[in-house]
């Protein structure tokens, strides 16, 4: 009860703030709609809890119009507060009452049928070693990404077990949809799968998977007994240890910082280190690092309204295009796919271009 009161106080303060974080909110910026700004979302959640709203559908639809990117939390004037927890609670209630948007519903149905958001796919399990490389759902169908990652891993000379595909998924699509029972099942299944792999460390190419399989699982009392790291951290380490030989060539690169990587995992320096080590010249957009903007994510993933998702994507594309760099790169397979209009590459593709056999 005391915990509930504390949480209610926190969102009550947010609802009375001057909206000091809205300048960083991608859905607000893409639409200019005050209602989507964090403080107004908080006010509506408070009013909903107090029974002051009449239009339940309007409210629940709004709860699916957040990118859940964490910009508001990163730029919040209060410590230990994350509006996303409250938006997520509202999504859970929406899910329980069957009031989720169509895009989200389709994604959940696909997940239920195939155990992942992509549809039917083959399981991958090859190689052996103490290090595991988990191929996320968002990179599963990306042949360029997988080829580049494979090249990089083989040049490193390390023994690595690659796995993923089939029905292996961290469960994030269900979590974002508010399906907590489904998510719990997915997390336990993932734990069982990971246990069978017998690896001490898992490298993952998707920031959302990293966050989900650490922080979000812990909230559900599910703990994976392995070290989990993002690909960018892994490559940074390999480069520092001299395990990858590099052929340097000057070209300009713009990095799109994935929101989860910057805001939740605080890893925005890792891809920059890699880019610098590879000899590229970095051209930063206005909004980068801890000011990055979300790409909009996949359809029905975080933003439940495809028109809003497209508006957020379009704004981010324009921000990135303005650097006119030779190459655009990111550290999230979903961002790569969403921002494909500017021929976005995943960080391993950049590494694969430069990596040479180590003598």
């Amino acid at each position: 009860m005391a915990e509930d009161k504390k949480e209610t106080e926190k969102i009550g303060r947010c609802a009375m703030c001057a909206d000091m974080c809205k300048y960083s909110c991608p859905t607000y910026l893409a639409t200019g709609r005050e209602t989507l700004s964090p403080q107004k979302m908080a006010r509506l959640i408070v009013y909903h809890e107090k029974g002051l709203l009449e239009d339940r559908k309007d409210f629940l639809d709004l709860m699916f119009q957040s990118a859940l990117c964490g910009a508001c939390s990163r730029h919040c004037i209060y410590d230990d507060y994350d509006l996303r927890r409250f938006i997520h609670k509202a999504r859970v209630k929406a899910f329980e009452s069957g009031a989720i948007p169509e895009d989200v519903k389709k994604r959940v149905e696909t997940f239920r049928k195939f155990g992942n958001p992509n549809g039917e796919r083959k399981p991958i399990d090859k190689g052996a070693g103490d290090i595991g490389y988990f191929i996320s759902c968002s990179s599963y169908k990306d042949e360029d990404l997988l080829r580049a990652t494979e090249k990089m891993l083989s040049k490193s000379g390390l023994a690595i077990r690659r796995f993923g595909g089939g029905d292996m998924c961290c469960g994030a699509p269900l979590y974002y949809a508010g399906d907590m029972e489904g998510f719990k099942r997915a997390s336990l299944k993932m734990k069982a799968e990971v246990d069978t792999k017998q690896v001490g460390k898992i490298v993952i190419d998707c920031p959302t998977c990293v966050k989900t399989m650490t922080e979000t699982y812990r909230d559900m009392w599910v703990e994976l007994d392995v070290e989990i790291m993002h690909t960018a951290q892994f490559i940074e380490t390999l480069l520092k240890q001299g395990k990858l030989g590099i052929k340097k060539k000057k070209r300009t690169v713009t990095l799109h910082d994935p929101c989860i990587l910057s805001y939740d995992l605080a890893l925005s320096s890792a891809p920059r280190e890699i880019i610098a080590t590879l000899g590229f010249s970095l051209k930063e957009p206005v909004y980068s690092g801890d000011q990055t903007h979300c790409c909009g994510a996949a359809y029905g993933a975080k933003i439940g309204d495809h028109r809003l998702k497209d508006a957020v994507t379009s704004r981010r594309l324009n921000e990135l295009r303005s650097t006119a760099a030779d190459i655009y790169v990111t550290a999230c397979p979903t961002c790569k796919s969403v921002l494909s209009e500017i021929n976005m590459k995943y960080i391993t593709e950049l590494v694969a271009e430069r990596v040479i056999a180590k003598r």
Partner: protein, 476 residues
């Protein structure tokens, strides 16, 4: 709708108006959805924020209209005139006097879709933006290119360029870079009859009274600012932060007067009274702390800092180093305490007034004493936040846990305004009038001043379409 309104009711819009506006902006940019109406019901008028906790809102808009261009605004304004529908322009909604509250059944004209960075002229050191751009985004865009607008209000992260212009705003670095009226060189305004006024950017003109000054502080009552060209500055090469402890407010104010008289131009000068120093700088405690931040070209900045140091020491100032300035830079946007107090039934607000140097200290003493005497007061504290060669802005914060919140709020404001006027001050330095301060307008401007302002409003907006009930309730 279950939320209650206590100032005015939502209006019923003519069908013809709705149909026409939907055509102009597109269906998705005309909304009467509950979530939108609640979100545009209130700005940052703190008494309203206090009441909003329980679902009590001052007013609900009849609709929210979000145009994408000046041309659309022109059409909307003409249509509103035809159907006699009042319009409340809404920028960032950060105003603290209720200027963006949609009174009298107004529709809200949401300007936040118009937020583009339009043009940079590095040769002339000017940049043009659409009025709905958020201050922080404007500054981030300029910083990326090596410039700053130099207008850094506490509301930087939640206020818009159009809002700065409409309230005649001032930022924390204003002693060097000036206030918004010093920065705006040109602007585009949709007038209440729907015509477009384009004031081309030039350094200065002598073509009758300055038309742009009608809209600098017009609070959306005389026209809707849609874009503006502002002056910009290269990012400073050197920044020097200093602070001094003085034996009294009197000495601190005298030092700043001498510093400015000696032609030093620090960007930031702030004098904190004992109460605010105690809160901001616990390591120093309840003393009078003054911070100076000088910045710009290396040579000038060094000289500036040297002049400040010499005059401060000559007047018995004890250096407290860079730390207080660093602490202030870290905490200057932190408004977190207000909402916490409000959750416990506290009434909190800030009042900014201005006076000449001869009155500046008397104003502080009288204002604090008058406000402290109001029953229910917990704390009244102050700092001087902006300086001129001739005087200063005094910024007072008050908090109380009263039995009758509205009575307390009214009495404290009355005490503050009375002390201001008795000390020949102005009732507002940079927050504006909104609706709450209208009650003190005549004491500030005199009957002739108010008549003149009403005449201007009536001449421009005879039907009282724009921001009805604000600044001067002229027109119909």
């Amino acid at each position: 709708m279950k939320v209650k309104t206590y100032m005015s009711q939502k209006g019923i819009l003519p069908r013809g108006f709705i149909a026409r506006v939907r055509q102009i902006v597109g269906n998705e940019h005309f909304s009467q959805q509950e979530g939108d109406l609640i979100s545009y019901s209130l700005d940052y008028w703190l008494y309203g924020v206090f009441l909003s906790q329980k679902g009590d809102l001052p007013a609900l808009p009849s609709a929210v209209i979000s145009p994408a261009s000046a041309a659309q605004i022109q059409e909307i304004v003409r249509c509103a005139g035809q159907y006699k529908v009042p319009i409340t322009p809404f920028g960032g909604g950060s105003g603290v006097l209720g200027g963006a509250i949609p009174l009298n059944g107004s529709v809200v004209l949401n300007l936040q879709r118009m937020s583009k960075f339009l043009n940079l002229d590095e040769l002339s050191l000017v940049a043009e933006f659409e009025a709905g751009i958020m201050g922080a985004n404007l500054e981030l865009e300029l910083n990326h290119l090596g410039y700053s607008a130099g207008n850094i209000p506490q509301s930087l992260y939640c206020s818009t360029l159009g809002g700065w212009i409409s309230t005649r705003a001032a930022g924390q670095f204003s002693t060097k870079y000036g206030k918004i009226e010093d920065m705006v060189l040109g602007m585009e305004v949709v007038l209440p009859d729907g015509n477009l006024l384009n004031i081309r950017p030039v350094p200065r003109r002598s073509v009758g009274p300055s038309l742009k000054d009608l809209f600098l502080g017009g609070e959306g009552t005389l026209g809707i600012v849609t874009r503006a060209t502002i002056s910009i500055h290269p990012l400073p090469r050197l920044t020097i932060k200093q602070s001094f402890i003085f034996p009294s407010i009197e000495v601190a104010v005298e030092v700043v007067r001498q510093v400015l008289r000696a032609e030093a131009r620090p960007a930031v000068v702030r004098i904190f009274d004992e109460a605010e120093s105690g809160r901001y700088f616990p390591n120093i405690g309840r003393k009078v702390v003054t911070i100076f931040i000088s910045e710009g070209e290396t040579e000038y900045t060094n000289v500036d800092a040297r002049v400040i140091r010499r005059i401060s020491r000559q007047n018995g100032g004890k250096s407290s180093g860079e730390e207080p300035a660093n602490i202030w830079l870290q905490k200057r946007f932190d408004i977190g305490l207000g909402p916490v107090l409000m959750q416990y039934g506290g009434i909190v607000d800030t009042i900014e007034v201005s006076a000449l140097f001869k009155d500046a200290v008397g104003l502080y003493r009288d204002m604090v004493a008058g406000m402290k005497a109001v029953e229910g007061t917990l704390e009244v504290s102050g700092h001087y936040s902006h300086f001129y060669r001739e005087g200063a802005c005094l910024y007072i914060t008050f908090a109380g846990i009263p039995k009758d919140p509205l009575r307390y709020y009214q009495d404290t404001w009355d005490a503050a305004m009375k002390a201001t006027l008795q000390n020949n001050g102005s009732i507002s330095h940079h927050h504006g009038i909104g609706f709450w301060r209208i009650q003190y307008l005549e004491q500030e401007l005199g009957a002739s001043g108010v008549r003149l302002l009403k005449s201007i409003k009536s001449a421009l907006d005879p039907e009282g379409i724009l921001n009805r009930g604000k600044l001067v309730d002229g027109g119909r």
